[in-house]
Amino acid sequence: MDDQGCPRCKTTKYRNPSLKLMVNVCGHTLCENCVDMLFVRGSGNCVQCDTPLRKSNFRLQLFEDPAIDKEVEIRKRVLKIYNKRDFDFSSLREYNDYLEQVEEIVYNLTNNVDVERTKQIMEQYQRENRDVIQRNKVKLTREQEELEEILLLEQQDTEQRRLETLQEEQRQLQAKRKNKQALLDELERSQLPASILLAQHKDRAAQLETQIEKQKQSVKPTTIFSTGIPKGQTVSLAPVIRVEEVLYKYQPINVETYGPPLPELEQLDRLGYLNHVRTATPQDLAGGYTSELACHRALQDAFSGLFTSLV
C-alpha cells in the first residue's frame, strides 16, 4: 500500500496521506492535483498511453490495481446490455455458454484484444435483442431477489429487537420514577417514622432491581414455528369427535283441510291450475324451483282456510 503513488508527480500515500488517486477509462492512474493541472480544458491525452480522455470521466480509484477499476467499469457497461437471465434460456448449458461469451467480451475489452470487433459484436447484439434488454432492465436476477428478501427480514428483526429493548427501558424507567414518587408521597403523609419508610423503599427498590435483572435474563421464546404457525395456538391433530345421532327421516306433511281434498302435485298441470301461475324461467328451474311447488303451496293455504269457521 505504501508504494501507491502518482506516476507523474511521484507523490506517494506515505508522503501525502490525503493523496487522492483518480483513474479513467484507460485504467491509468493520476493524482487529483495532476488531473486538475493537466485537464484544465476538460480533455486531454493520457500521460501513459495517449488515449484521449475527458476530465469528467475521472473517478476515484477504489482498488489498488487500477486495471480492476477499469475492468469493473467495462463490466458494468457490458452487463447493462448483456442482461439476459437464466430463465431466458432453455437449458443451463446454453446459459453457461452465454455467460462465457459475456466474460470473453469483458476480457477482450479490458486487455485491448480485438477491441473493434468486440464492439461490433456488442452493437449487433444490442440491436438484435433490444426488447429483451429493455424488459430485463427492471428485473433483478432471482438470486438478487432472494438476497433482498433475506436482507429485508434481517432488517425487520433488528428493528423489532431495537424497539423491544427501547420499550423495555422506558417501562423500567417509569417504574423507578413511580417508586421514587411513592416514597416522597409517603414521607409527606404517613405517620410512620422516616427510617422505616426509607427501609421499605430500599426493599422495594431492590425487588424492582431483581425483577428487572430477571427480565433481562429471560430469553424471549420464539413465537412462531418454522412452518409459520404461531406457537400457543393449539392445532389439534386428533380427528373431530363424531356425535352419534339418529338419522333424519322424511315424513310427508299431512294437511287437515276439513273440506274437499287437495289436488295432488302431479295433477296440477292436468287440472289447469298451472295456467294461473307464472311459468318458471330456465333460471328458476336451475335453482330447483318449479311452478308446481308454488302452486301447490298456494292451494294448501287456500284450502286450509276454507272451513275453519265451522269447527
Binding site: 469493473v72 476480457y107 436476477t141 438478487q144 438476497l147 434481517e154
Partner: protein, 717 residues
C-alpha cells in the same frame, strides 16, 4: 455400560460424562469391540477420535491390552485390525522428508514427490526424484491387506520400513477396511481434511469423540476463516503465479487446458453420483447445488477464473482498508460485492471447486504455497452458501493495540452444528464423551442433535480421594474474587498470595495453580513480588510459570516434573484454556493440589464472542449468562480434573473465588465433583482451608492397598 449398549442398540447418538482417570477409554473400547464381535453386520467399524497424538497413542495401547486379554481368555487369535492415523509429519519414513520440522513443509515435500504427474514424468525421465516408499506401496501395497493386529504410529512405521511401503498412504488406504480407526477430531470435523481422508468410511460405524468438552469450538474453528492483510498479499503472489503458469501452459500444452474446460462443461457428475449412492460423507464446504450443476460459464476458462479471483482479491483488499469496525451478515456482503465488482453469488459458490480443478490441471507441485488462495476460495464458497449462522467482522486493529493498523477480516461461524451435521447424519451412532460435559443438556442444544441417551456417571471410590474446597474469603474476611471490579484490589491479590503461601507449606510435592488469563497472571505475580509473597513461597517450593510460547512452556513443565521427582516440590503457575490445562496430566505427586484462582470466563468484549452469544440466544434460546458460565465452568472443571488420574491418586481441588459457592456455578460442575462438595466446604477462609487440607492430606497419605482391578461405573440418577 448399560447406557452405551442402549445407544448402540438404538443406533442413535449419546452423550456420556465419565470422570477422568477411571478407565473411560477402556470401558468404551471393550463394550464396542464386544458389540462388534457379537453383531459384525450391525457395527462394522469403530472410529475413535481423540485430540492429541499422545492421547491417540494411549488409546491404541489400551486397545492392545484389551486384545491381549481376548487372546488369553478365548485362546484363539482374533483377526481384528486396528490402527492409528496421524499426519504425514508423524508417519513419514522418507529420510529427507521426515527430517523437516513443520507439518506443512512435510506435506508440501511429500506432495512434490508423489503427485501423479511427477511420477508420470519420472517414467520418461528417471532423474526426476520420487518417493520410493510410495512407489513400492502403489505397486504392490494395495493387493494384500495389511495383516490384522494393533498398530500404533511406530508400529506402522516399522511395518512400512520392513516392507518398504509408505506408512502414511498405507494407513490411509487401510482405514477403509480396518475394524478400529483411531485418529484426531479434525479428520472428521474439518471439512477440508475430512473430504480427503474420511469420506468413504462405512455408514455402519460407531464414532466416539473422546475429550469432547471442546467439540463446539473445534467445529467452529474448522468453519471459520480469518483473513489478514498478509494473507491477501500472499494471495496476490499466488494469483500472479497462476497467471504466469497459465500463460506458459497455453503456449506449450494448450490441450491440457482444453481438456479441463471440456470436463467442466460436463459438470461435476461423478461426485454427485457418489453422494447419491451414499458412499461419501457429505462436505459442508461443497454444497449440494455445486454437485448438481456445471460450473457457471463466467469462470469456466482458466483466464476468466484468474480474472475473477483478482477482482475478488481486490475487493477484499478494499474492504480491509477501513478505519472502523464493520459487522455484517453474509447477504449484506454478497450484495455489496455485486455492487462493487459485479460478482454474482453463483460463481462464488463454485470458487473452491474451480480452484481445486485448476491447481490439478496446472500440475502445481507445491500445494502448501497455495494455502492462502485456497483459504480465500473456501471463504468465497462458505459466504455464498450459508446465509445464516455466519457473521463477517472486519476489525481495523486489535483491541490491545488501537494505534497500529492491522486489519483482519473474521468470517466466523457461530453455529457449531453446521460442521458436525454430516457426521451425525452419516454415522449410525455417535458417542460424545469427556470428563467434563456438565450441564449435559447444553451439548445437544448447541450441536443440534437428538441423543438417545444422556448420562452422567460418578466414581465409586474406595476412599474419598478428591477434596473440592471453595475458598471465598481471606483471613481478613475480604471476599476473594477475580471479578472485574475487585481484581485490581490489593487485598484480593494479597489474599490469593497468602492462600498459595499457606498451601505451599502444607501440600507435599507439586501444586498447580491456574489463573484466568496471562495478563491477570502477570499482574498478580508482579504484585506478589512487590509484596514479598513470592520470596516466602520460594522458601517452600520452586515456582515455574507457563508462557504463551510453547517451547518455553514445555521447558518449564519438564523442570517442574524434575523438581517434583526429586522431592523438592514445585508450583506451576499456568493459565486456564492454556496448553497445560488441556492436555497434560498431573498424576500422583505431580499434582497434589490444584488451585483455581478466579472463574475463567472468556474475554467477553470480543466481537466474535458477542455475535456468537447473540446467535445462541436468538436461535437456540440459550441465555448469554448461561453460556458464559457453562463455558467458564467447563474450563475450571477441566483444570482441576488434571489432578485426579485414577483411583490411587488423590488431590485437593481449591476453587478460590466466592462466586463458585453460588448455586448456578456449582450446579454446572460435573457430578463427580459436585458430589463431594458439602455445605461445610463452601465459602471458607484461608485458615479453614488449611485445616481441612491438612486433615485430608494426612488421611490420604496412609498406605492404600485396596485397588480394584477393573474400572466400574455407577449410574447417578
Amino acid at each position: 455400560m448399560l447406557e452405551l449398549k442402549r445407544t448402540l442398540d438404538a443406533k442413535g447418538h449419546g452423550v456420556l460424562e465419565m470422570p477422568s482417570g477411571t478407565g473411560k477409554t477402556i470401558s468404551l473400547l471393550s463394550l464396542i469391540v464386544a458389540y462388534q464381535k457379537a453383531y459384525p453386520l450391525e457395527v462394522t467399524k469403530l472410529i475413535y477420535c481423540s485430540r492429541t497424538v499422545p492421547e491417540i497413542e494411549k488409546v491404541v495401547e489400551e486397545l492392545r491390552k484389551l486384545m491381549e486379554f481376548y487372546t488369553k481368555e478365548t485362546g484363539e487369535k482374533n483377526n481384528f485390525l486396528a490402527l492409528a492415523l496421524s499426519s504425514r509429519k508423524n508417519l513419514c519414513i522418507h529420510p529427507e522428508v521426515s527430517s523437516l520440522r513443520f507439518g506443512k513443509e512435510v506435506d508440501g515435500k511429500c506432495h512434490s514427490l508423489t503427485a501423479s504427474y511427477i511420477r508420470a514424468q519420472h517414467h520418461s525421465n528417471p532423474s526426476q526424484p520420487v518417493c520410493r516408499f510410495y512407489e513400492e506401496f502403489d505397486a504392490v501395497g494395495r493387493q494384500v491387506p495389511i495383516p490384522s493386529g494393533i498398530y500404533n504410529l511406530d508400529d506402522l512405521k516399522d511395518f512400512g520400513r520392513k516392507k518398504g511401503w509408505c506408512p502414511y498412504y498405507l494407513a490411509r488406504y487401510s482405514i477403509l477396511h480396518a475394524n478400529i480407526v483411531v485418529y484426531s477430531y479434525h479428520y472428521l470435523l474439518d471439512p477440508k481434511i475430512a473430504d480427503l481422508v474420511s469420506k468413504e468410511l462405512a455408514k455402519k460405524s460407531v464414532v466416539v469423540f473422546d475429550e469432547a468438552h471442546n467439540i463446539d469450538n473445534v467445529c467452529i474453528d474448522s468453519m471459520s476463516v480469518n483473513i489478514t492483510r498478509r494473507t491477501l498479499d500472499r494471495c496476490q503472489t499466488n494469483v500472479d503465479t497462476l497467471q504466469n503458469t497459465i500463460q506458459r501452459i497455453k503456449e506449450t500444452d494448450a490441450a491440457k487446458l482444453r481438456e479441463e474446460y471440456r470436463r467442466l462443461v460436463e459438470g461435476l457428475k461423478e461426485a454427485n453420483v457418489a453422494r447419491e449412492t451414499d458412499i461419501y460423507l457429505s462436505n459442508p464446504v461443497l454444497p449440494d447445488e455445486v454437485l448438481q450443476e456445471a460450473i457457471p460459464g463466467s469462470i469456466r476458462t482458466a483466464e476468466h477464473f484468474v480474472g475473477f479471483l483478482k477482482r475478488f482479491l481486490e475487493y477484499l483488499k478494499a474492504r480491509l482498508r477501513i478505519h472502523h469496525v464493520v459487522q455484517e451478515s453474509s447477504p449484506q456482503f454478497l450484495k455489496d460485492i455485486y455492487e462493487k465488482v459485479c460478482i454474482d453469488r453463483k460463481p462464488l459458490r463454485f470458487c473452491a471447486e474451480r480452484l481445486r480443478s485448476l491447481l490439478r490441471t496446472l500440475e502445481i507441485a507445491d500445494i502448501a504455497d497455495f494455502s492462502p488462495i485456497t483459504l480465500i476460495s473456501h471463504f468465497a464458497t462458505l459466504v455464498s452458501t450459508y446465509s445464516k449462522g455466519f457473521t463477517i467482522i472486519i476489525e481495523p486493529f486489535e483491541d490491545k493495540t488501537p494505534t497500529i493498523a492491522n486489519p483482519v477480516l473474521h468470517f466466523s461461524c457461530m453455529d457449531p452444528s453446521i460442521a458436525i451435521k454430516p457426521v451425525f447424519e452419516r454415522f449410525q451412532s455417535v458417542v460424545i464423551t469427556s470428563g467434563t460435559l456438565s450441564p449435559l443438556d447444553i451439548y445437544p442444544r448447541i450441536l443440534d442433535f437428538r441423543p438417545v441417551t444422556m448420562a452422567s456417571f460418578t466414581m465409586t471410590l474406595a476412599r474419598t480421594c478428591l477434596c473440592p474446597l471453595i475458598v471465598g474469603r481471606g483471613n481478613d474476611q475480604v471476599a476473594m474474587s477475580s471479578k472485574f471490579e475487585t481484581r485490581e484490589d490489593f487485598a484480593v491479590i494479597r489474599n490469593y498470595g497468602n492462600l498459595l503461601l499457606e498451601m505451599s507449606a502444607i501440600v507435599p510435592d507439586g501444586i498447580v495453580a491456574f489463573f484466568t488469563s496471562y495478563v491477570y497472571m502477570e499482574n498478580i505475580v508482579a504484585s506478589w513480588y512487590e509484596q514479598g509473597i513470592l520470596e516466602n513461597i520460594q522458601r517452600n517450593k520452586l515456582i515455574f510459570i507457563e508462557t504463551p510460547d510453547a517451547a518455553e512452556t514445555s521447558m518449564a513443565l519438564e523442570k517442574y516434573q524434575e523438581a517434583c521427582e526429586n522431592g523438592r516440590g514445585a508450583i506451576l503457575l499456568s493459565v486456564a484454556r492454556g496448553k497445560v490445562s488441556e492436555g497434560i496430566d498431573f498424576v500422583h505427586h505431580f499434582g497434589r493440589a490444584v488451585i483455581m484462582f478466579g472463574v475463567p470466563y472468556v474475554y467477553t468484549q470480543s466481537r466474535i464472542l458477542k455475535a456468537r452469544l447473540e446467535y445462541l440466544r436468538d436461535q437456540f434460546q440459550i441465555r448469554e449468562n448461561d453460556f458464559l458460565t457453562f463455558d467458564a465452568m467447563r474450563h475450571a472443571a477441566q483444570c482441576v480434573g488434571r489432578a485426579i488420574r485414577g483411583k490411587t491418586d488423590y488431590g485437593l481441588m481449591i476453587f478460590a473465588d466466592k462466586r463458585y459457592a453460588r448455586a448456578d456455578k456449582r450446579g454446572k460442575l460435573p457430578r463427580w465433583i459436585q458430589e463431594h462438595i458439602s455445605d461445610g466446604s463452601l465459602n471458607l477462609t484461608i485458615d479453614e482451608t488449611v485445616q481441612l487440607s491438612k486433615h485430608f492430606l494426612r488421611q490420604m497419605a496412609q498406605p492404600f492397598r485396596r485397588v480394584r482391578p477393573a474400572p466400574f461405573f455407577t449410574r447417578f440418577s
